[in-house]
């Protein structure tokens, strides 16, 4: 058991290192110069002043040092918990910018992932045993899961937001409000949350339902089911066993889908101008904000890795066969 998790942790550590390095590299491959864009925003006309500001900013962000030095500095700062200063929202630290955005992204992602997984599995298992549902609703599942997140998001925004006018299509709360603890604000938050959530939920739901439906059909054909039925076991017991065994590949699927779902959430946020991490990434790219981009990526990588690790642990807990494979069995 310890060796198994030791090996897992090593792999996760390595993944983290590589991902963070790539995240550091990507912004530096972008065309354009962040200091230049800051200077033009500052709108200073005197050439001497411009030059002084350029020197100041360049040394402040460390761009005057060679690349390898910048890379080492980056890791040094990272280990101290310092992600640098945002260029877009100068001089706010990147950490603060991200902390402000994270609740919105988590508020979208966590319910979308968990609810779609639970509901999709239940529905898929249910549909597998009813021919009419299997023939009518599951094709819809195929359409849903094949839909790109942002396309469904645009469709929902257009249909329920623009045409029907039921839901707002931009922001996390009404532009007329300030964040506060009140029922009105919570209501507005919920109203703005619904459409981005629904577009994430629906796409993922279709995928889980189809996967579960196939797994249940497979499990109900398995030998242990035939044996139980030959001994007259009631359908309730058989279904319970089949559901429990069919859910195992779905747990692995959850681990694999986490990254896709996070990416989906990022583009959905952009469609709805939802002030989460996806929105930050767009702003960071447009403003050549290296540090914000790095920081946001870092946070996403961390999130996906941690979630994957949790799923790994959960899998070991629910499937005795993995435990036997680790040599931990008595």
């Amino acid at each position: 058991m310890r060796r198994y998790f030791g090996r897992k942790l090593l792999v996760y550590g390595l993944t983290f290192f590589v991902a963070v390095t790539v995240n550091w590299l990507i912004p530096r491959f972008m065309p354009g110069d962040p200091v230049q864009s800051m200077l033009s925003r500052a709108n200073v006309s005197q050439p001497a002043a411009v030059e002084a500001m350029r020197l100041h900013y360049t040394s402040m962000f460390g761009f005057d040092q060679p690349l390898w030095r910048q890379y080492l500095n980056f890791w040094g700062a990272l280990l101290r918990g310092d992600l640098g200063i945002s260029i877009w929202l100068f001089p706010t630290p990147v950490t603060d910018v991200i902390v402000r955005a994270v609740p919105y992204t988590l508020g979208l992602l966590v319910p979308a992932i968990l609810l779609s997984w639970v509901a999709g599995n239940r529905f898929g298992a249910f549909a597998a045993r009813r021919r009419w549902l299997d023939n009518s609703v599951l094709p819809l599942g195929y359409v849903l899961t094949a839909t790109p997140y942002m396309w469904l998001a645009i469709l929902l925004a257009w249909a329920l937001g623009i045409v029907a006018g039921i839901f707002p299509v931009a922001g996390a709360y009404s532009f007329a409000m300030r964040p506060e603890l009140s029922w009105a604000f919570a209501g507005s938050l919920l109203q703005h949350w619904f459409l981005p959530f629904a577009s994430l939920f629906l796409v993922a739901f279709g995928g889980w339902a189809i996967g579960m439906r196939n797994m249940i059909i497979y499990e109900l054909e398995a030998d242990y089911v035939t044996y139980l039925r030959s001994l007259g076991a009631p359908g309730r017991l058989v279904r319970r066993y089949a559901f429990r065994n069919a859910i195992l590949p779905q747990i692995t699927g959850l681990a694999l889908q986490l990254g896709v779902l996070v990416a989906g959430a990022l583009v959905t946020e952009i469609v709805f101008s939802y002030p989460g991490l996806g929105h930050l990434i767009l702003q960071a790219v447009q403003n050549q904000d290296f540090f914000l981009l790095q920081g946001t990526f870092l946070f996403i990588v961390l999130g996906v890795l941690v979630a994957n690790f949790v799923v790994d642990v959960a899998y070991v807990l629910v499937d005795p066969r993995t435990r036997a494979g680790m040599g931990g069995a008595a």
């Binding site: 030998d223 035939t226 044996y227 139980l228 030959s230 009631p234 066969r321 069995a329």
Partner: protein, 314 residues
Amino acid sequence: MSLTVTGLRVHYRTLRGDVKALDGVTFSVADGEIMGLAGESGSGKSTLGKSLIRLDGRMRHVGGTVELDGVTLPIGDDAAMNAHRFREVSLVPQYAMSALNPTRRIGRMVSELLASRGAGPETAELERRLELVGLSRDVLDRYPGELSGGMRQRVVMVISTLLDPSLLIADEVTSALDVSTQRAVARTLREFRDRGLVKSMIVVTHDIALVHQIADTITVMYAGRLAEKAPAEALVTAPRHPYTRMLISSLPEAGVRHEDRRLAGIPGAPPSLLDPPAGCRFRDRCPLAFARCAEQPPFAEVAPGHHVACWKAE
């Protein structure tokens, strides 16, 4: 009479029409009898075994009755049949190695199964019977994946007979085992009968040599019908049906060098059961066939306990 089967007909539904896998089968199994049921692939032996406990989705009960201890079994009605399964008719399946839920500890699975059938947790009895087949009670705390194939098979034999069924169907239980384990399984099956854990037994197999060791009587099937039923010794040493004779003479014998005497097979193939020919179904391959074979021969008793479906057998 423990089991009486009369004119049983079970068909498989396929896209090309009904496959008549069992086409009028009549026999009985006495209390305490172990009946071997032999035949080649497609002869209907497994279909017969399954028909007595659970028809699968493509099988259809077309006619005939099955009576066990004086009660007619509703074999065509899956739900009504549940009351009889496990308690009166039970099964050791062909796939015994994979018959246990891989994600439940065996003890827990057994108690959940018993509870679902309204039977109490018979822990003491369960442990006693595990001991009988040479397993310790520890297996109850194990997952099926932690046991060897042979151990799993024995566990399944214990579970299947836990409620002392009147009839046990053992479907190809030895096919997947090596020779030494086969003997052990055969001995266990006999022991279950001798101790009265099951009243009578049908052992479905294609291995006549093995069934000869287990069974009191052997029934040979051919193309959906019974060819011959006789006491085990009589069937092996003095078969009356030409098919049984050829089947037994095609078995290798110990001590014979087959370099010198080539092993004889039976030329030809069984008829299609989609649209089987009238009359005796073996007649196209039978060296003794004559005009009367176009008529279906009755499954007649030619000697005490010896039934043969052949015009030439009298």
